[in-house]
Symmetry: C2
Subunit: 698 residues, 2 copies
């Protein structure tokens, strides 16, 4: 029995509920597209008025329609949708697309109407796409349930989009450019079928070679990450997300919060999920077109073949900035190129055939260059001029691309001369780019995915030696004492210690005598830290005294900090060994859950913004990569004769804290600032732990 | 009498030397374009064969041509160009365009041929564009000296390009898109007329509103900077440069060298020159189109008017990332918008008129929104669909743009539906963009230029209290002793001191006794630093001993460093006060001359790459901006309760060192690492000065 979602693309019959015989209506357009865009199953327009539409019999209700039928496209007005859906359920339909808008996006009434749809679907075991969407297309099936006037050519780009308008724009663009699609899904409000389901439906389709996603929100972040992570090695996922910079970022007072926010969480999620992030629709199409049509490169070495130096130089700059390199051509290749290019051609890389090469030279030169073992991929560049027919250039590039096993992309720098050449390229599997930098970005996308495909597994692994029960007891006690908000630093340190973080001995003193007693227990030297209501950044108010060597020093510091204030107390703490100070933080993203931060500690965190983010929990590889993404991590490795820090201890602490915040959703945020990292083998000390709770620990 | 360069665009007669009657020849194309693209003066084809071309009499030599004549387009083969140019000189021509290629770009022989052209031009007081170029166009004059088949529409974008192919590609694109140009110059090898002259010629043209430049190398960097700096407040300059990442960067051993390189120098030059840098031809056109057609915004607040939420959300992200903001619309504006948009429109900003607004609503909504005092500029976005005619949308956007005094750009997200709308927009002064992010970039370009136009003057000001003669004497002595390469640190410090940098007392000791004597003179505590052949990074080999408190400590350190090695000596230096360590460096860029670097000192410079670059010398404002660009500068201001450092002393030292390297081209590179910055008012100490010479001091 097929997966239920597959009925969206392979229904054995389609009903259009609310179909109109008026050609000005969108529902007429849906019937027309189903019929004229090649769907082979039965099409049943549904309308109480009866009659016929485009020669198809109109049925008064879905109940009247003969078998087999799997899919309904619902286009009646919002208030009538729940009943229509119920009828579909009774009739035994597997799937429905609710095109109608006016639900959640239209306000509270719409939202409550929308939530009823989910219940109806569950009752009847149906799956729903929408509401507020334009439906789906499969150019290979073929099936077109939308009212968009044309369907793109069959191709290998799959696209799932939150927004129907973006789908419309993409199709308008694709037809102009001769770009092919495999499946297109407009997901709308995602009351049931989500972007994660969209990923699965595109992954299940053998014609789809790349999954493009346009998202606004990600309703179930962890599920999306899990879904994408399960398939990204098989099929590339290229995602553009709107709202990366906007209100999603919570305003929290701590450093972590100020530096994190929705954009960082989204990036961390894409990293874990193996999703290629892009920032614009143009970049998405540029990269996806290459991934849809080209094999993956074995390395990062590019050859450029051109009739003009300028565009090739711009492409070289962009390749360099994106981490690709210009291939060094072998002497044999250069000699062979000499035989197939104009006598004055520049035979290094870029291979510049100057103003007027014959079109066939593009075939010959690319062929020879791609046969070089030192070349992993090629970009053909051409500026139209009177001598060389651009369409023939395109045909020669296509020919070589079809013969080689290496990626080839083509940049034509022009406008009025190239519309036909664009189609020759795109329709024959060579992506076209109008700008050299965009062609370079596309090649970089291929290499980026080739590397992603090979990276180590990032599935989180269990952290040994955590005492979850102890942490739970401490957290529960803290909740009872303080409720929501920050808990005592001393208590926070105990929670971290229960998960195996190394914290210095410490205790809270309400007065000078207690402070001296604690200092004796800890052993000199000690540190004194002010604990006072409303003081978050202790250093700013002289609330930290380091390296107190004896009772007298402890006495003086404590007196100064507490004064006569009964609300104040002092934490006396064993002084950690000297070492590099780093910061380690965690917070909770509304979409993706617990988010870890690592970076340079002390006053530097604010000016350098030298931080990396990951979803929690995380495996050792991911923790190590996270650390090494930062300058703090590079310093830990030892720079210019400095002693390397205990990298393994930092990795271990990161993983323990990651596990802690993953295990306890009640922890709203957590900062270890600083984590003092001793020399390799000497451990890392969580000297100051801050922790805030948002709910009762379970 | 007009400026001689003006004859390139307003000649009173044009000769085409080497004109052919064969329509397949490029020289025929030049005659044809002169004639058919509207040039009103006399056209004289020159060819010994005589006859006529396109009804124009062919003259055997330039000497035979009647007056008036100012410009020759020379298309004979390379070997014949010098003679042809000489004939032009004798005939009294003011200017010539050498289209012929095969000069410097073809090897040594061509290079020597090319250098002869310059001499001939000087002899006869002519100016030359080229060789190896495609000539010039002025769409308003009109004048077309190229063989490119079509001429763009008259417009306000001026373009000067190193590469002729890039010009060809741009024209091909412009015709397809209906984009207008004012003047286009293909500069080729720039044997005489350079990119700086190109800037002046575009600045002199009242039809040109924006100057676009495509450069590969900048032959005379300082002249380019001076030229651009003199005009950028009157006319924006948008530049793309190929070769930013490539071999231009010298490989030098010191930190400064490793971090600098051609790209940094280019950026510093553009900063000083007031040039907007872009990285691709696409970005250049996107920004230049807006600057050519739109007024400048008074602020950074943007309103988006759209028929689809998705593209507007992507535009919002991009605007945010580029430093613009979404305008907060006033309650009045929102009420008025309600009256002119569909009933279910979203009236916050973005103003989303949903799927099917009437085309006129674009006029009404934009008009209302632009009347809001809180709105500085507008982006209209539209995704084509069946209901609203896209051409009418374009016409309404044009109408509002022509009526408002604020900038308006338009994004149509589509392809097949929009070619006519693109022309309606571009030909009526509203720049069209296919991608929301590109439209956002264009608006950001407008704001970037508006800010640039208002910035303080960055012309370098004299530095008082420098003893140039003393510096010269010391440098000459050092050159005599050491020649090329690094000079003694002690000597280098004296040079810096002559320019007013504050250096600690120091001296060189060859043995323990001398070291102790020097330490007594300096006053304890002192620092001992190893001086040994081949040791560049002293800290790596234990060659620095800090805070030596007495003679015994000095003795021990000196013994350890020198050992029995007669080649080694030790510098004894007064210990600088504690403070923040920064690094200050200078090197010499082959294109732009002396380049200053400032950043975080110590081991951090390598991991953070927290550095800023400027051309030297520099004024106080520029020095301050430079410092504040870095995290080191932010730390100097005092972060989180830290005492602020002596910013004024750092500015002063930067300006002194900048003046030093500007005054003495013999200084190849210079590093002060660290410059120790005391608390505000306590000065900055150049503790370790390294300096290398490349030539004899003048």
């Amino acid at each position: 029995m097929p997966d239920q979602l597959s009925y969206f693309f392979n229904p054995r019959g389609v009903a259009v509920i609310g179909a109109s015989s008026n050609p000005a209506k969108l529902s007429y357009g849906v019937v027309k597209n189903l019929k004229s865009h090649g769907y082979q199953g039965a099409i049943y327009p549904i309308n109480p008025k009866g009659g016929d539409i485009l020669g198809l019999k109109v049925y008064p209700t879905i109940a009247d329609v003969p078998d087999p039928i799997d899919l309904a496209v619902i286009m009646v007005r919002a208030q009538l949708v729940p009943d229509a859906l119920r009828e579909c359920g009774k009739r035994g339909l597997k799937v429905a697309i609710v095109v109608t808008g006016g639900f959640r996006e239209a306000g509270e009434e719409g939202a409550s109407l929308e939530s009823s749809l989910k219940g109806i679907a569950e009752t009847y075991g149906m799956r729903i796409i929408g509401p507020n969407c334009v439906g789906v297309m499969d150019t290979h099936a073929p099936l077109d349930t939308t009212f968009i006037t044309q369907m793109p050519k069959p191709g290998h780009m799959g696209f799932a989009s939150h927004s129907g308008a973006i789908v419309g724009g993409a199709i308008d663009w694709a037809i102009e450019m001769g770009v092919g699609y495999s499946r297109i899904l407009s997901l709308g409000n995602q009351v049931d079928v989500s972007i994660s389901d969209g990923v699965n439906m595109l992954n299940d389709d053998p014609h789809t070679h790349v999954i493009s996603l346009y998202a606004e929100g990600i309703p179930n972040g962890p599920r999306f990450v899990e879904t994408a992570a399960a398939i990204y090695r098989d099929k590339p996922i290229v995602m553009v997300k709107a709202g990366r910079t906007a209100a999603g970022a919570r305003a929290v007072a701590s450093h972590t919060g100020a530096l994190a926010g929705a954009g960082r969480a989204y990036e961390a999620a894409c990293h874990r999920a193996g999703v290629l992030m892009v920032n614009s629709l143009q970049e998405q199409n540029d990269v996806a077109m290459a991934l849809a049509t080209q094999p993956l490169p074995q390395g990062r070495r590019v050859v450029l073949v051109t009739n003009a130096g300028g565009p090739a130089a711009l492409a070289s700059d962009q390749l360099d900035e994106l981490g690709l390199t210009l291939a060094d051509l072998s002497p044999e290749t250069i000699a062979r190129l000499g035989a197939v290019t104009p006598h004055d051609a520049q035979l290094s890389n870029p291979v510049d055939m100057l103003g007027g090469p014959q079109a066939e030279m593009y075939y010959d030169a690319l062929k020879v260059a791609l046969e070089d073992k030192g070349v992993d991929m090629a970009m053909a560049l051409f500026v139209p001029q009177a001598i060389t027919p651009v369409n023939d250039v395109a045909r020669n590039v296509v020919k070589v691309a079809q013969e080689t096993g290496k990626p080839v992309v083509c940049c034509l720098v022009g406008g009025m001369s190239i519309p036909e050449a664009i189609h020759i390229l795109n329709e024959n599997g060579v992506p076209f780019y109008q700008d050299p930098n965009r062609a370079a970005r596309a090649l970089a996308g291929l290499w980026q995915y080739a590397e992603l495909q090979r990276r180590s597994d990032l599935t989180p692994t269990p952290v040994p030696g955590v005492d979850r029960e102890r942490a739970r007891r401490i957290l529960r006690a803290a909740w009872k004492t303080r409720g929501e908000g920050f808990i005592d630093a001393e208590i926070a340190a105990q929670v971290a210690a229960a998960y195996g973080a190394r914290v210095p001995f410490s205790g809270i003193a309400a007065n000078v005598e207690e402070a001296v007693l604690l200092a004796q227990q800890a052993g000199y030297p000690v540190v004194a830290k002010l604990i006072a209501p409303g003081v978050v950044h202790k250093a700013d108010v002289g609330g930290i005294a380091l390296n107190l060597q004896d009772a007298e020093a402890v006495r003086a510091a404590t007196e100064r900090m507490i004064g006569g204030d009964a609300d104040r107390s002092v934490m006396i703490q064993q002084m950690a060994p000297q070492g590099q100070e780093v910061i380690l933080g965690a917070q909770r993203d509304p979409q993706f859950g617990p988010l870890l931060m690592f970076g340079m500690g002390g006053i530097y965190v604010e000016v350098f913004k030298d931080v990396a983010f990951r979803l929690a929990p995380l495996c050792e590889t991911d923790a190590r990569d996270m650390i090494l993404e930062t300058a703090a991590g590079k310093l830990l490795q030892g720079v210019r004769g400095q002693v390397p820090g205990d990298m393994e201890a930092v990795i271990d602490t990161l993983r323990r804290i990651g596990q802690l915040v993953a295990d306890f959703p009640c922890i709203r945020e957590l900062d270890i600032n600083p984590l003092i990292v001793g020399p390799a083998g000497h451990g890392a000390w969580a000297v100051d732990v801050r922790m805030a709770l948002s709910e009762q620990p379970e």
